[in-house]
């Protein structure tokens, strides 16, 4: 399998990206190939050991870089030789089986969507993120690819994230919840209410109805479907709140007793490990015709290593085929969207 990685994506590029690529080599098979995409001279300078592993890692030159805060659409046009644009083109030409980037999320979504096209039956791709919770992993889709969401998109996010949950996380019959502002049928905006009807009409979906923000962490469901704006707020709020809360606890402990604080450090580390999103490597852009993973901007080498493994599992488990099959069988259709 060929996996192309954006060497210049994320806050810690290229060092952590390249380190992650090198770390992943030992867990790959002989016929796997990693393709680093970015400015040749920068990558080669960082890769003195590359030559000794000839065949395992190759480089595709992409001289430009899209910054994390650039506006996606215009930038992609202006920088056709950026690592993200080249990554997408490799996928389009069938020169790679998977693409991975920790770069500008908006640019990744736009480039991958444009070049890879959608899977048959999918109206709009969505980013799925796995939230580690005390009740097990919860997949939330979409967290930012689509901020003009229609009911059919929300339904399809439930389908796609459900397939992901079942076949990659091993959840037998994933319970799908629809993010709203109250459990009752009448709650939510018009898009949510219509999506609810679509989801209810699919007897193959284990739909548990509307859920609320608090339900993500209480074991109510395995999959959450929501529009990209809301999902993005959920994702970032969770990050910020966990950080803030740990800081608050640390502060209180320091006030109390240094010895207690030291002991607690160990506990915090254990919790961090248990609920570490880096474990899942990256968030798949579900619905594109290919394997595309978008990683956190703060990705470390282990995130990239895990993303490489995750892309391999996504590819070999044929997640996309399973999504297409599900959608070709479903009775849920809409002309709108």
């Amino acid at each position: 399998m060929r996996i192309a990685i954006d060497a210049m994506g994320g806050d810690n590029a290229p060092d952590e990206i390249i380190a992650g690529v090198l770390q992943s080599i030992e867990s790959l098979s002989e016929d796997d190939e990693l393709i680093l995409v970015g400015p040749e001279e920068i990558i080669e300078a960082q890769l003195p050991s590359l030559k000794s592993r000839k065949g395992a890692v190759s480089v595709v030159h992409a001289p430009d870089i899209i910054a994390m805060d650039e506006v996606p659409i215009g930038t992609l046009r202006k920088k056709p030789k950026s690592s993200i644009a080249v990554l997408a083109k490799l996928a389009k030409r069938g020169q790679t089986d998977a693409v991975i980037s920790a770069g500008n999320t908006g640019a990744c979504v736009a480039a991958f969507q444009m070049r890879m096209r959608n899977l048959s039956g999918v109206n709009r791709p969505g980013i799925a993120v796995v939230f580690p919770t005390p009740g097990g992993p919860v997949v939330i889709c979409d967290v930012g690819a689509n901020i003009a969401c229609k009911p059919i998109h929300l339904y399809q996010y439930g389908v796609m994230a459900g397939v992901y949950s079942k076949h990659l996380l091993g959840i037998e019959n994933p319970r799908v919840g629809l993010m709203s502002i109250g459990a009752e049928d009448a709650k939510g905006n018009e898009v949510v209410k219509k999506a609810r009807e679509l989801m209810k009409s699919d007897s193959n979906m284990n739909f548990v109805g509307n859920i609320e923000g608090r339900d993500i962490f209480d074991g109510t469901c395995d999959v959450v479907t929501c529009e990209g704006f809301v999902g993005n707020v959920i994702l970032k709020l969770t990050e910020g709140l966990v950080d803030g809360l740990f800081k608050a606890i640390k502060y209180e402990l320091m006030e109390e007793k240094l010895r207690l604080a030291m002991k607690f450090k160990h506990i915090m580390k254990r919790i961090y490990t248990k609920y570490d999103y880096n474990t899942y490597g990256g968030a798949p852009l579900l619905g594109v015709n290919g394997t595309a993973l978008i990683c956190h901007g703060a990705s470390e080498s282990r995130t990239i290593r895990n993303a490489i493994c995750a892309s391999k599992r996504f590819y070999t488990e044929k997640i996309n085929n399973k999504i297409v099959e599900y959608l070709s069988d479903t009775c849920v259709r809409t002309t709108d969207g």
Copy 2:
């Protein structure tokens, strides 16, 4: 000042509500009057001590109750003698200066909006909740009153929550952030982008631009404006996540050592006290022509006591006058909304 309280609102009604009312009496002035609204026989049975405090607490009979999960609009029509409907009518007729309920939020919003009408210059009321954060209190508006939000509403939520922050929380020049999915101008949906322009054009507003979910807890701003669906998800997610995280910590500590867990209990309690939303009592429905506080469904007696004090401050500080003044001076106008 006359303050009317829904005796039947919330999961712990009427016991905790009535207990909160009795607790609040000592902090009130001689000419303050509390009006308990609900089924007379239930309230009187719970109030044996009422007679000895004649004048301080009176009862207005409202035989019906709107359940927490009933659909607001239809229910209000069907139950004109419910405690929430009667509460709203008292306000309309000028028979009370403030209304407080921990009951069905949707029904409260609908009833108060319909009977009390909007303040001059306000297009749509919004619920403002105070989040206690390490950087100080952050006011978030709206958290669920308005799920069909227009740019002018978002702008006005910033104005109203800013007035609240300044005059009730003592923040000198509150920094207002607009909830979006990235700091850059181009990020967000159409409503957010247009709201951003309105906010930028108001030189009296200390607008800090787009914020993201994580910024609520990192001291970036004092006021967050967002549409009701997003705000409601934020509110409930925060509750659920804090609970879930404390449970996870407790679990790890119990695994470790019981003695450490016991010590940590004390720390947790301190954090709970410091970041306890019950302190703020209730969330004002900003923008209605009157003083209306909506309390958490799980309100305890101290929440109600604090809400009564908060309504008094809201009323005596003339928050509504300050909102009307601000909006009559602003250059921000729109024909849409």
